[in-house]
Symmetry: C2
Subunit: 241 residues, 2 copies
């Protein structure tokens, strides 16, 4: 298994997700939110880039659709839900379709044309994603969404954690790129205190200052769900691993 | 002092080197080669992007000019020197001007418009660069040249080593970005065996396979010169720190 990692959604353009399983990681908060929404019975999450696109799509789809998304961390005016994992409770999302637009996370999907599979990973479902990938046997491109298209620590640590879990469950040979190896080291340095890392990194400080500190505790949870969000016809749906 | 780091020459475009000291790191091999050429009495190194541009410039400059550069690690046909630090001995380069074109290192300079200073750093002069920056008091943007415009481990480790040295000599407050902190962790993980890291990373294996293994030993040397290459009118010249 070839295992590569892009430190931002721009970085992946110069690598290749072609014929690989592409794993999108946006720990704070889109990946966590998507995994927990599907865990709570949401029928599918459709990631879109722009808010107007989200509104138009929701109208086309008709009933049973929730509009969700953020700009500058805040819920978009007139939308049903923001981007806090706490918003996506079973009461709110079970049986519904969610159309989601976020600043970085949902934009990362656009860079993945040609990928064989598109998967979403966060701390909350990392071991399930590793099991899913192990069974798929596909080569892997981990795509850290990053912040403003740049490196951010928490997504790199998430990438390293996924690699750590993959090495435990995959019994074939794994070839790691420099970037993949670097993310392993970053995970090893922070595995003892993931919540502390989230609170201390750039975006964690920004979210805390914006009143979203409680979200960090939700995003720091490890393996609370076996749900693997997998893209099918433009819609992320739940698979179990 | 604000201290940021770009993991590739493309990454810096979305950050800002404006009004900062921009530090270009291409450990294997352009940074090492430039530092050692100036250490050995070279009068100036002019980094250019294309080989034809290099030839045209050398003709314009007339006597006392050496043409240097590589493509796919090999010396360009008809050039005086390749990109091996060993080529740039005192006998070859003292008193001469070198026009240099390399695949990644010399291209990184193009992304740095607006920088207050442009400096070249490698393991061979890392502590001298740290002293120079400490005295300048400027905010810092470290630019890892990377490989094919992507993350490479050795330049990230070099960036972390420069930060390590800066923290030792600068007595004011230093604010580190996520990327800067990540590079510190990558340096800490490899500081005990820099040569082993160079031999084991992607590009080190490529160079070794290409017959350039001896260059890795030169590039792994730490603080063998006090020379700081500083850009003046398009030409890197030696300053001492």
């Amino acid at each position: 298994m070839m295992l590569d990692l892009a430190f931002s959604r721009h970085d992946v353009v110069r690598r290749s997700a072609s014929s690989r399983a592409a794993i999108v990681i946006d720990i704070m908060r889109a990946s966590t939110t998507i995994a927990m929404a599907l865990h709570n019975g949401c029928g599918g999450v459709i990631p879109v880039r722009e808010r107007d696109e989200a509104k138009a799509l929701a109208e086309t789809l008709g009933g049973g659709v929730l509009l969700a998304g953020e700009r500058r961390a805040e819920k978009i005016a007139g939308f049903d839900l923001g981007n806090s994992p706490a918003d996506f409770s079973r009461e709110r999302v079970a049986g519904k379709t969610v159309v989601l637009t976020t600043t970085n996370g949902t934009r990362a999907f656009r860079a993945l044309d040609g990928a064989r599979e598109v998967i979403v990973c966060a701390f909350v479902n990392v071991s399930a994603v590793a099991r899913w990938l192990s069974r798929s046997g596909l080569d892997v491109m981990i795509v850290c969404a990053g912040r403003r298209g740049q490196f951010c620590l928490e997504d790199a640590v998430g990438g390293g954690m996924l690699i750590d879990r993959l090495l435990r469950v995959f019994d074939g040979a794994i070839v790691l790129s420099d970037a993949a190896r670097a993310s392993q080291i970053l995970y090893a340095a922070h595995q003892g205190d993931l919540l502390g890392m989230l609170r201390d990194c750039e975006w964690g400080r920004g979210l805390t200052a914006g009143g979203f500190g409680a979200d960090l505790e939700l995003c720091a949870q490890v393996d609370v769900t076996g749900t693997v969000p997998v893209m099918r016809d433009g819609r992320l749906v739940a698979q179990e691993a």
